[in-house]
């Protein structure tokens, strides 16, 4: 088992290439995500048409020709709107997931470590939060903050915190008792350093899985919020709203209005899951050689 292969220090790029070869699905996920992120960043140059300009003649135009993915009721190009919509959807998905997981991890770590009354209190608050459905809580928060992109992100991030903090807390509780943590105490390492070096990295695996799973649900929550008029304000397109606006009315007459935004959402969720799974494995030294 102990070969000399791993004893050489690899450069970062070597390591990335090595891991890429081992996880082709992860690479596929990374490519999907990169394409979407690029589309979002350079939406103005990538989109062939103006996503806001209406055209009565092109109302519900079929896919093909100028309108690669057809046009909506107001004659706006679906493809261009999807590309612009990636900005909102990705910002919300990545932003809310990062904020939610970040705060959740910190709170979970604190609860697991401090314990006692602090833990008891935080856990009860968490339970109250978990008793409310994600959407209802997001609704209340956006309603009080007002509709805007940052507010939408915050509103979706806060309901994510309880789940993440619970997972991290339970992990910390078991990791704290590990002999290697005791060994670290025995050499006089500070609690902070133990938490950062020994405890947190070992809760990474469930955290990544949870975060990638939540990425998809955040996009859908954003869609619901936008549909109810509490998401990102109107003329600006978001995938969720494109989907939910047209789902009921046009699913038979103009299915492309539903299919393409739905496809975009599924692809991002799929891509992030592939990437997340591969990241979790690649970051675990036990999975090597």
């Amino acid at each position: 088992m102990t070969t000399n292969v791993n004893t050489m220090k690899f450069s970062f790029m070597d390591n990335v290439l090595y891991q890429a070869k081992r996880y082709p699905l992860g690479v596929a996920g990374a490519i999907i995500m990169t394409v979407f992120v690029f589309a979002a960043l350079f939406a103005t140059t990538v989109a062939p048409l103006d996503p806001f300009s209406t055209n009565a003649k092109a109302s519900l135009a079929k896919p093909g020709g100028v309108f690669l993915m057809g046009a909506d009721m107001m004659g706006r190009d679906v493809f261009s709107r999807l590309i612009h919509g990636a900005r909102v959807s990705l910002a919300v998905a990545l932003g809310a997931t990062c904020i939610g997981s970040g705060f959740g991890a910190v709170i979970g770590l604190a609860c697991g470590y401090i314990g006692g009354w602090f833990d008891l209190l935080v856990q009860r608050v968490t339970e109250v939060m978990q008793a409310l459905p994600l959407l209802v809580m997001a609704l209340v928060i956006t309603a009080s903050l007002g509709p805007s992109l940052p507010n939408t992100i915050i509103a979706i991030a806060i309901p994510l915190i309880p789940t993440v903090s619970r997972v991290v807390r339970s992990n910390v509780l078991s990791l704290r008792e590990m002999p290697y943590v005791e060994a670290a105490k025995a050499i006089g390492m500070s609690e902070w350093r133990i938490a950062a070096i020994h405890v947190l990295p070992n809760t990474l695996a469930p955290l990544i899985v949870l975060a990638t799973a939540q990425l998809g649900s955040t996009i859908l929550t954003e869609a619901s919020l936008s549909f109810l008029g509490l998401g990102v304000p109107e003329p600006y397109p978001s995938w969720g709203r494109m989907l939910s606006e047209s789902a009921a009315e046009y699913v038979r007459t103009a299915p492309w209005l539903v299919i393409f935004p739905g496809l975009a959402i599924s692809l991002v969720v799929f891509g992030s899951n592939l990437l997340g799974d591969a990241l979790r494995d690649a970051l675990d030294p036990r999975q090597r050689d």
Partner: protein, 324 residues
Amino acid sequence: MTMEQTPLVEVTALRKFFPIKKGLLRRTIGNVRAVDGVSFSINAGETLGLVGESGCGKSTVGRVVLRLIEPSAGSIKIKGADITGLKRQDLRPLRRQMQIVFQDPFSSLNPRIRVGDIVGEPLKVHNVGDKKDRADRVAQLFQRVGLRPDQMNNYPHQFSGGQRQRVSIARALALDPGFIVADEPVSALDVSIQAQVINLLMDLQRERQLSYLFISHNLAVVEHISHRVAVMYLGRIVEYADKTSLFAKPLHPYTEALLAAVPLPDPSLKRTKHRVEGDVPSPINPPSGCHFHPRCPYAEPRCKVEAPVLRDVAPGRQVACHLR
């Protein structure tokens, strides 16, 4: 036991009770008396074997001595200095003098950290030398415990149990401590590997005048490595003697029973028919009087009432039994 030198480690009347809390208000409804008045001392270069059944509190003793768990009462002195009441930050420099090796070679090494960094960690925490000095020191330690320095960049899962235990020993040695608690360091290993690790520990002791508190339930191993042996039962030491006299003639009925339970490698040898029956009673509600009386074949009425104290029966030999 001679009194001419101060012992390296001196433990007096050590107690550790774990409270059992129940209900919304977390009221204490009882205590697990894991360690109930344990005293011993270890001289420089000496090994004290601590034996007993599972759950008798021997591992707790090891942890409390290192203050990984806070004692409920009693005192711990290292080189004559009382460390019992020391604050965390005052204790830190003293941690260099005392280390621990754990039983499970798998969970005692963080799977995400390279073994070289694991062994170098104590040096880093105590700011020993610069990066290069530390790497050299780690390489030396690797060589000393029988690992190749080029294995430093490997992860723990790439090693076998015995090799991992060597990594643990290297980590414990990094700061050049005088005292090491070895908490069942070979119980999880194959017999052939056990011998190698035991020999390594003994060689290191000779080289560095190390003192060990060697916790084990394996009497054969204890007989091999220890100078003196303390037998623990339900949080108390019931017999304390030098190795030779203990194994030649156990005084406490419990020690007798433990020794009788050791498998004999020669089938033609007759063994004394003396067995302990039943399980260790609960340390939450230990039996009255002598803790051992419900399982003791020689128990008398007074054993139920009166708790025997550990008293001297010969120089350096103590036993807690009314009958001996």
